[in-house]
Subunit: 114 residues, 2 copies
């Protein structure tokens, strides 16, 4: 549970930046090299690499070096983790709505006791 | 688009903390006062209030003061924003899978030209 919570911290932290979200978006279309990924950004390579490392450490991407080229690919597991978190939240509200409905409908039942 | 991106930064930043996620989870069951929300945490009130302010500024909660009690309530719009972002990402992969399927199936069609 502790580990799950820490993983969520990292997963959401990774998404809290427009460069990192743009990298994930690009990788949604297929794997790409670091230089391809960095091209659209007016950013020094060391700064860009910090984003890549954060994406890799948080589990959003995998990278693989072949010769002098490092290729990045999207990992889908964190998406599933975020979706699970969202659906857990939704289940809480829906439980609340169910309880509200019970509260609203049960007195009416009491008024018609046959 | 710029505004949407900044809003996403704040929305995801707010989720990158276990205390803030726990507050959202509690508010999923219905509105609560600051003291009710703070009770489960071994945290000084000023530190806890920073989390509350961050949740309010990022749009995840609304707070309302009545007399000496400030009540917090969940806002559902950011959930929809996160869900939209996730489904945009999914559409990208699915587009990629569609293109892969076309690539895999179209040569077979060329082999049978009638």
């Amino acid at each position: 549970m502790e580990q799950y919570s820490e993983r969520l911290d990292d997963i959401f932290q990774a998404l809290a930046d427009p460069t990192r979200r743009a990298v994930l978006r690009r990788l949604g279309r297929g794997p790409a090299s670091i230089s391809e990924l960095a091209a659209p950004f007016d950013m020094a390579l060391p700064s860009f690499m910090k984003h890549i490392h954060l994406l890799e450490e948080s589990g959003w991407i995998q990278t693989r070096k072949e010769g002098r080229v490092r290729t990045c690919a999207l990992e889908k597991k964190p998406f599933a983790t975020v979706e699970t978190w969202l659906s857990e939240q939704r289940a809480l509200w829906e439980g609340r709505i169910d309880r509200l409905e019970q509260f609203v409908t049960s007195p009416q039942r009491k008024e018609k006791p046959r």
